[in-house]
Amino acid sequence: MATATKKKLVQWDPADIKAELIKKYPPKVARKRAKQIMINEALQNDTPSLTANVRTIPGIITMRGCTYAGCKGVIMGPTRDIVNITHGPIGCAFYSWLTRRNQTDAGAEGDNYMPYCFSTDMQEQDIIFGGEKKLEQAIQEAYDLFHPKSIAVFATCPVGLIGDDIHTVTRNMKEKLGDCNVYAFSCEGYKGVSQSAGHHIANNQVFRHIVGENDEEKPGKYKINLLGEYNIGGDGFEIDRIFDKCGITCISTFSGNSTYDQFASAHTADLNAVMCHRSINYVADMLETKFGIPWIKVNFIGANATAKSLRKIAEYFGDKKLIDKVEKVIAEEMPAVETVSSEILTRTEGKTAMMFVGGSRAHHYKELFDELGMKTISAGYEFGHQDDYEGRQVLPNIKLDADSRNIEELEVEADETRFKPRKSDKEMKALDKAGYKFKEYDGLAVDMDKGTLIVDDLNQYEAEKLVELMKPDIFCAGIKEKYSIQKLGVPMKQLHSYDSGGPYAGFQGAINFYQEIDRLVNSRVWSYMKAPWQKNNRLTASYNWE
């Protein structure tokens, strides 16, 4: 039984904390976990010093989900006009039904299948005799009911085990139906070590089956794709608002508030801006290799980060008109942000935060806490890889284990007809000379203070210990963690679903986040945890009548 009722904050040493975290583990577990807990030195090594993207330990209560969740839930979930059929027992479809707050705006008439849940609801006989016929029938029924432009099929654990050939089934159905693109994802839950594998499987298939399907020129200038933005709580809406205001044309978002056609047209953009490095950097690479679109890392979480990212995009296009427009927009938006932050800063400055979430979010949200004057004393990812922690320069030195090798890497090469360099060598040199960095990401560690704790795949036990020992003013993770942390009297903010809040991206989002954190860390609610008789339980028969 733990307690975090604030006593005078004890001073802690990171090494002691680390020791505390693993003390209780069986030796084998302790050894393994020790490698995933790093006392940050904020260096940029070429060889990774933290172990990440490795198996979760059986029996150790993890925050992680599965490959199916990463594929169907995270990546494909936000696209509104594809009928997503889960091939498997009912559960997987049910749990991924409307539970992620990835918003979409279909207008009054547009196709929108997101409020629906489609499943083949496999039964025992399907497991015994195979589910291909049923899947075929299910696709046909979906087509007859809705006539969607595309149907996607997602494999759950048993499908791979019983050997249903979902890719053949979907290929055949695609031919049979003619006007409907049908394809499948082998995203069985047991694959890989976390959602991350699912992201990869999803993106591979999107790239293989959809990207490049529509060559028609889209109108507009300064065409980009926004990769790895999932419109949780309306983040994408806010980013789109800013793009519109700047005159930047977003051809496609992977995959917040997206449509089938956005994916199909992605190759017509001239720049890829990568938000969530973890879930999609390889798509950026493939788009570059196949179509010649360069990519940069951006971050629209945090007002300053947003300004920085906008400038980076403008600088890429190098057009004075755009550069000026971006500066004008920033100048228009920042005052409101600063008014709020300066007022709230007086109540948040010096407070501390912990974040254990996603594969990039922990890093992104550090920006916002910095803007609130709050120190991130410990952080980590749920499904990050080593490059997400320590920067892309470690990539060559990451040893692939069996689990990672099992996740397909697409072989792509330049498209004969459609590959087209977006910048001449000369332009590229100029940008490089100006210090402009493509495909660069330095990771979380360098941005964290020395001596802070970076923990990969934090688990329930360690989370509780961390909170006990370091008593942060706020803790950020997911729904499964929320209430055990709050029981300790520490407010817990979900950074997957944002609880009920958002958007937190862009300028307006920053304001929302400041106000939300102010509400959480300064709420009087946390002072009610003890009853009067628990504070003073002196018993007296002589009640002091007035």
């Binding site: 559960g91 629906y116 899947l135 499964k480």
Partner: protein, 457 residues
């Protein structure tokens, strides 16, 4: 419209389930296991299952849900999950120190044919299960039954912890079925008043409706203790509430340990509660205390006082079989008309029970087991109703069709109260009635032209 693609014309579907009215077995097993004191549920499968179940239960209860998983990898899926399970047992007992680990299987581990009892034996022989600690297991493949049958299976495993001493304990086993913590509490209040000694299992009260006190207890005070579970074999009998949720466990105790049982409907509403209370009365050979009769009378009083707002109102229901059977009976008893009734859980006898209960209602009734909410919505499109009762997913239908709606069932992800206020028993009936009347009267107020707007209702 949020469900803009749902057509009015109903076409038969053989393979595609749309907007399910059920979920898979393991989550039921997990919920049941949380009703054992000091128990850590364990999901023997890939880690996603466990994550999904924990998330869903957390959203429903706004409480921490602890459960572990075997975290199957591709390798384990090929070579079997024994190694993972053994490692898990060892880690769990060392790190979290539960009294019991309640393991349930998944489609994955069932498909590859892991044999849990055998694995458990191995763990025992390898000394991975500390003295006085327990590992129980239930087979809950996601590809059969539903969350309801999964619940039932784990409850049966709990019953099988019985260790009869041959000496009767003078208690009655009460298997409440899948109800809320507040309902379990209410059962204890009622049996306490009637003065019947009971063993209630599972019992999630005090586990999933806990306080905020600055302390986090992975294993809260609540739950049925191992001692109690061992003692169920010495009980004078078992009252199982709900054929789907509770009957198997009761029958198992009967066959295996000769503990006689009765299967009753879940005591939602007047009639079902009458039968439950009267069963307790005759079992205990006591007379019912005035306070219970008084509560009953209050329910009857409110029904009679408000009858004009209930009479003839059409209702659409979706949920789980045991709950729907009693709710349908309750609605019919108040002269309401439940005309569309769907459960996702299989079981033809469900449709039979509903048909019996509604046979004198004098109007066509659509009822389907193994149905889905897409079908329910289509029925509503074809014959509109005055009220929808069901879980949170009904809100999409209620909004699109602009129909008053009472949240009841599992899961409820967007409102509070179900953890704290019972809907079983007579007091529970008053609460259900308050909620039903509330939404019906709110609608009357909303739609009344100014000259018909009422002060007194």
């Amino acid at each position: 419209m949020l469900l803009r693609h749902t057509p009015t014309d109903i076409s038969e579907r053989k393979a595609l389930t749309i907007n399910p009215a059920k979920t898979c077995q393991p989550i039921g097993a997990m919920y049941a296991a949380l009703g054992i004191h000091g128990c850590l549920p364990h999901s023997h499968g890939s880690q996603g299952c466990c994550a999904y179940h924990r998330s869903t239960l957390t959203r429903h209860y706004k409480e921490p849900i602890s459960a572990a998983t075997s975290s199957f990898t591709e390798g384990a899926s090929v070579f079997g999950g024994q190694a993972n399970m053994l490692q898990a047992i060892n880690n769990i007992f060392s790190v979290y120190e539960p009294e019991v680990i309640a393991v349930h299987t998944t489609c994955l581990s069932e498909t590859i044919g892991d044999d849990l009892p055998q694995i458990k034996k191995k763990a025992e022989t390898e000394g991975k299960i500390p003295e006085g600690k327990y590992v129980i297991s239930a087979s809950t493949p996601s590809y059969s039954g539903s969350h309801v049958t999964g619940f039932s299976s784990m409850v049966k495993s709990m019953a099988m912890m019985a260790e009869p001493t041959g000496k009767k304990n003078g208690k009655v086993n009460i298997i409440p079925g899948w109800v809320e913590p507040a309902d379990m509490e209410e059962f204890k209040r009622i049996t306490g008043l009637i003065n019947v000694k009971t063993i209630l299992f599972p019992d999630t009260s005090g586990v999933l409706n806990g306080p905020l006190s600055g302390e986090y207890k992975m294993f809260p005070e609540g739950g049925t203790t191992v001692e109690e579970l061992k003692s169920t074999g010495d009980s004078i009998g078992t009252l199982a509430l709900g054929e789907w949720c509770s009957a198997d466990a009761a029958r198992a105790l009967d066959t295996k340990y000769k503990v006689p049982c009765s299967i009753l409907d879940m005591p939602f509403g007047l009639m079902a509660t009458d039968r439950f209370i009267d069963a307790l009365r005759t079992i205990a050979g006591v007379s019912i205390p005035e306070v219970i009769t008084h509560e009953r009378g209050q329910l009857v009083d409110m029904i009679s006082d408000m009858h004009q707002y209930l009479f003839g109102k059409k209702v659409a229901l979706v949920g789980d079989p045991d709950q729907l059977i009693s709710m349908t009976e309750f609605l019919v008893s108040m002269d309401m008309k439940p005309i569309h009734i769907v459960t996702g859980t299989p079981g033809k006898k469900f449709e039979k029970r509903i048909r019996e209960i509604t046979k004198d209602m004098g109007c066509k009734v659509n009822v389907k087991a193994k149905g889905d909410m897409f079908l329910l919505h289509q029925w509503i499109r074809n014959e509109p109703v005055d009220l929808i009762i069901g879980n949170t997913y009904c809100k999409y239908i209620a909004r699109d069709e602009d129909i008053p709606y009472v949240r009841w069932g599992f899961p409820i992800l967007d409102r509070q109260g179900h953890q704290y206020f019972p809907t079983v028993g007579y007091k529970g009936g008053l609460r259900l009635l308050e909620k039903i009347l509330g939404v019906l009267m709110d609608r009357q107020d909303r739609d009344a032209p100014e000259e018909k707007f009422e002060l007194v209702m």
